[in-house]
């Protein structure tokens, strides 16, 4: 299937579409360049593995390495807690995303607005619509998705990938990041 078709065939995007993360370096550069990144994690991550390890472990490693605060939606919190990882906030996807459209909002710690929001694991169509909201109404926030399918409304997205390619990419992103 074409790499940049919406995963759900009918979720045709508008004229502005996500650029592709085809190599880990691209994502690493974007993450390193971001002053204030944040990661928003939905319940769908539970079902994925990256090269034999649960995806959640990979996300925790990424968060720790790149010092990215993690916002989890309700159902995923326990999974993080059980791994000794305390998310920065438990908040629904629509709540955190609507806050991201507010240029006055100074983030969870009240310090500064975020400039990069990484999304992963929300139901596809929900993430699609939420990213659309940010595409139009959060000009100061770039968005990136870590799912194995193409999300046209993000600023950067993985292409539709096999689990193997996607996992290798994700692993590469975490490994390449400077401590």
């Amino acid at each position: 299937m074409p790499m940049t078709d919406s995963w759900q065939t009918a979720e045709i995007p508008g004229p502005k579409k996500a650029s592709l993360i085809i190599k880990p370096d691209i994502a690493d550069a974007l993450i390193s360049r971001a002053k204030r990144p944040i990661m928003i994690v939905g319940h769908g991550i539970i079902e994925y593995e990256v090269e034999g390890k649960p995806l959640i472990d990979c996300l925790i490693a990424l968060s720790r390495k790149a010092k990215i605060p993690v916002v989890v939606s309700a159902s995923t919190n326990k999974e993080f807690l059980s791994r000794g990882f305390e998310p920065a906030a438990i908040m629904s996807a629509v709540e955190i995303s609507s806050r991201l459209t507010d240029p006055e909002w100074k983030g969870l710690d009240g310090k500064e607005s975020y400039d990069l929001a990484i999304f992963v694991g929300l139901p596809y169509s929900m993430q699609w619509t939420i990213l659309s909201g940010l595409k139009h109404f959060a000009p100061g926030v770039k968005t990136m998705t870590f799912d194995c399918v193409y999300h046209p409304n993000a600023s950067w997205s993985f292409p539709n990938s096999t689990i193997k390619d996607w996992a290798a990419n994700l692993k590469g992103i975490v490994e390449n990041l400077e401590d």
Partner: protein, 783 residues
């Protein structure tokens, strides 16, 4: 035409001929106003009458738009790209375009209910007469039409009195639709206010429909012990001729029951239904059976069980004719709004139509006379059943395996599936003889058929799923308490205090369609959980069916386990979509009957009361339709929050409060007129949850109101914290925002709450007598 179209009121006439006071004249008839309550400030509100109320709500719950399409294609300038700050050729911005689309959806929804209401009212007036009294609960229900009284300022006494109410709705709807024309409204908040107006009008239309049918068709009248009826595919006696009714407008289905009774054939024929017509036909005769929600259409038809299919209006699959033809079941269309290209046979004799069906020369007919539909459907079912022999198009186990072997694993099915179900994986398993994957899909499948349309190998995927789940379908033997209609005034008097004081933590209404992310079962589980926690749980529409499609550890369904009374721990099925009006009506009646707030044409004050004091929340877990959009909008204007499932983000916008912005949450203290903090409750007005767990925790939070007494707040907090601990993990991070005084802290959670508060610079704050309306200051009435 004897329709009332012109109406005016004369306060007083003294002439030589006669003396009149409070004379209400309408062309065609004269009625005397007998309602003594003084008229409130806003009878028959126009598009802008309640604009300032809407703006108060919208300044707190700012829209978060999530465009579902970046373009506008409504005029020939277009398509216009509205990305970001771009404007369309007409000058429209993206926020305005999104709210305009929401308004279009709300207008479609309201038009559908109001038109349904008009058809129903015309029908019952034709059969029972214009003077037929409105009776929704005998002496138990004196406030028979709370929404109509509130919005229009009239007290309908007969079916005829409902006609001018619908005239008003139709008038407003035309105005609202006009607002969406190119170059009309340009401000998104004004569009949103009109969305609320459409919702309010929709609720009036729904109320008229339901009180008309309850009054004229002998449905249960506010009966907490309305009969239990059969629910589920497995309850249908497939040895009998079977009639299937689908849709929302019940007269053709009641005519079928009437004819079966008249001919003595009822014991020999099964009347089964899908969607709201099913709910309403069981209100007419509890011997009718409900097959399931809207998503059961394909699976039931393809099973071959129905011998005749009778459709009316709304949410009927538009390919029903094709599906019916595949199983050789004649189809009867009965609504002018849904003719499906069929020949109009209304004026032909029953015998001729039945003969056409039996010979197979006619596969479908449009019959616009409910009585004739009754006769034709019964005669046809009797005649074709022996010939059809329940012709099914579901594959046998062997055929299923053969189909599965054709799969190329292209994934197009999954990419078409709204729930992103792992279809290809399941089919691969099936090709090796293992049906467990397909069987599992059955639980989460919406029955939309999109996977089949996508499959280039033409594999009938949905049929494969249903065939693999054969055992499950046979075991679908549940029950549902048929729709009781209104809530009794006495029930309101009993629970009004406990609700406003918070001993009952809230009213949670599970309403709307079946576009669920993970099947029906989640609705049943949520209903039972809240009933166990002593909330008042209401159900309606497809959600009312889903609520019953699950058995607990003891093998009981929600309706067997819990009472049907409007009380703590009750599960109250009000009925079909239009019966949602009784849920809004109950909230309004708490304000008017329990708190004695004036009702007549007094929208703002009542909404202000409901918003600040009545902890009601709607949950439309599978909201799909435009009607669901207008129903939700009617709740929003009343200040009742609505939670939807993840598919609900496709409604394009949420109405979200900002708990972190103290300035957003000021209310007037009615005792002093001072502006005081009253927040952040209820935190949101329209919220999409990602999972059932997120929804449940949010529902518990959204029942909080600024007026909660400490006892009430403690009870609500106890439920919120407990659900959060169980489903999310740990104490919620925002407890400090929700505890106002030490007395608000739940006793059993004291230590952990105090520890939490100590980390948040928390201070006690007073509990206000809250209102958003400056004019309500110093007007406190005895509540």
């Amino acid at each position: 035409m004897s329709r009332k179209s012109v109406n005016f009121t004369i306060k007083e006439i003294n002439s030589d001929l006669a003396q009149f006071r409070d004379l209400n004249i309408t062309i065609g008839s004269i009625t005397r106003e007998r309602w003594e309550e003084p008229m409130g400030p806003t009878p028959y509100p126009s598009l802008t009458t309640l604009r300032s109320w809407d703006q108060r709500l919208l300044s707190r719950y700012k829209p978060f738009y999530m465009p579902f399409c970046d373009l506008c294609c409504l005029c020939t300038y277009g398509k216009c790209d509205l990305t970001g700050t771009k404007k369309g050729a007409c000058g429209i911005s993206m926020p305005a375009q999104q709210s305009r689309t929401v308004l279009i959806a709300a207008c479609i929804g309201a038009a559908t209910h109001i038109s349904h209401s008009r058809d129903l009212l015309n029908h019952v007036i034709a059969t029972s007469g214009r003077d037929c009294p409105i009776n929704v609960g005998g002496t138990s229900v004196e406030v028979e039409a709370p929404i109509t009284r509130l919005v229009c300022g009239v007290k309908p006494e007969t079916l005829g009195d409902l006609e001018p109410v619908l005239d008003y709705c139709e008038n407003q709807l035309t105005q609202l639709l006009a607002v969406t024309h190119t170059g009309q409204e340009g401000n998104h908040l004004d569009f949103e206010s009109k969305v609320f107006h459409a919702g309010m009008i929709d609720h009036v239309g729904m109320e008229v429909a339901d009180i008309a049918q309850v009054s004229a068709l002998g449905f249960p009248k506010a009966d907490p012990e309305a009969p239990l009826c059969d629910l589920g595919l497995g309850t249908v006696d497939t040895k009998k001729p079977v009639i299937l009714v689908i849709g929302h407008n019940v007269p053709p289905a009641t005519a079928i029951i009437d004819h079966l009774k008249e001919t003595g054939l009822f014991p020999e024929v099964e009347v089964t239904g899908i969607c709201c017509t099913a709910l309403d036909v069981t209100r007419y005769s509890p011997r009718a059976k409900i097959v399931g929600p809207i998503s059961w259409q394909l699976r039931y038809i393809r099973s071959g069980v129905p011998d005749v299919i009778v459709i009316d209006e709304q949410c009927v699959r538009t390919d029903t004719l094709t599906e019916a033809a595949r199983i050789h079941a004649p189809l009867i269309a009965t609504s002018e709004k849904n003719c499906l290209g069929l020949p109009d046979m209304t004026d032909e004799t029953v015998d001729a139509i039945v003969a056409g069906f039996v010979s197979g020369k006619v596969t479908g007919a449009l019959i616009l006379d409910p009585e004739k539909v009754g006769e034709v459907a019964v005669a046809t079912a009797m005649a074709v059943a022996p010939k059809r022999k329940k012709h099914s198009v579901l594959p046998t186990k062997h055929q299923l395996g053969e189909w599965a072997k054709k799969c190329t694993q292209c994934m197009l099915c999954r990419r078409a599936c709204p729930n992103d179900l792992p279809i290809a994986q399941a089919i691969r398993l099936a090709a090796s003889g293992n049906l467990s994957g397909l069987d599992e899909l059955y639980d989460d499948c919406l029955g939309c058929g999109r996977c089949e349309s996508a499959c280039k190998q033409k594999i009938p995927i949905h049929s494969l799923i249903v065939a693999a789940a054969d055992k499950k379908t046979r075991e679908e033997t549940y029950c549902l308490r048929s729709g009781r209609g209104a809530i009794q005034d006495l029930e309101i008097r009993k629970v009004g205090g406990p609700i406003v004081l918070g001993e009952i933590p809230g009213i949670v209404a599970f309403v709307g369609c079946a576009n669920y992310p993970k099947g029906s079962r989640e609705v049943a589980e949520m209903c039972m959980e809240f009933a166990r926690r002593r909330y008042i749980v209401c159900t309606s529409g497809c959600s009312a069916m889903s609520a019953g499609m699950y058995r607990d550890e003891e093998g009981k369904t929600a309706y067997e386990r819990y009472s049907g009374a409007f009380e703590a721990g009750g599960i109250v099925n009000v009925g079909s979509c239009v019966a949602n009006s009784h849920i809004a009506g109950a909230a309004i009646k708490i304000a008017s009957i329990f708190a004695k707030r004036p009702l007549r044409g007094n929208y703002e004050e009542i909404a202000d009361y409901v918003y600040n004091r009545v902890g009601a929340v709607g949950v439309a877990w599978g909201a799909m339709s435009q009607k669901a959009a207008s129903i939700a909008a009617g709740f929003w204007r009343l200040g009742i929050p609505v939670v939807v499932g993840p598919h609900g983000t496709k409604y394009r916008r949420m109405l979200l409060g900002r708990a972190d912005k103290d300035a957003d949450w000021f209310v007037y203290d009615a005792r002093t007129g001072e502006k005081v903090y009253g927040g952040p409750v209820p935190e949101h007005l329209f919220f999409a949850a990602e999972t059932k767990e997120e929804a449940m925790v949010m529902v518990a939070k959204l029942t909080m109101r600024p007026n909660d007494t400490s006892r009430g707040r403690a009870n609500k907090l106890a439920n919120y914290i407990d659900l959060h601990k169980r489903l999310v993990g740990g104490i919620p991070q925002d407890v400090y925002r929700l505890v106002r005084t030490h007395a608000d802290i739940p006793l059993t959670m004291k230590d952990e709450c105090l520890l939490h508060l100590s980390g948040h610079d928390w201070k006690e704050s007073p509990i206000p007598d809250p209102t958003l309306l400056p004019r309500m200051v110093h007007q406190k009435r005895g509540d």
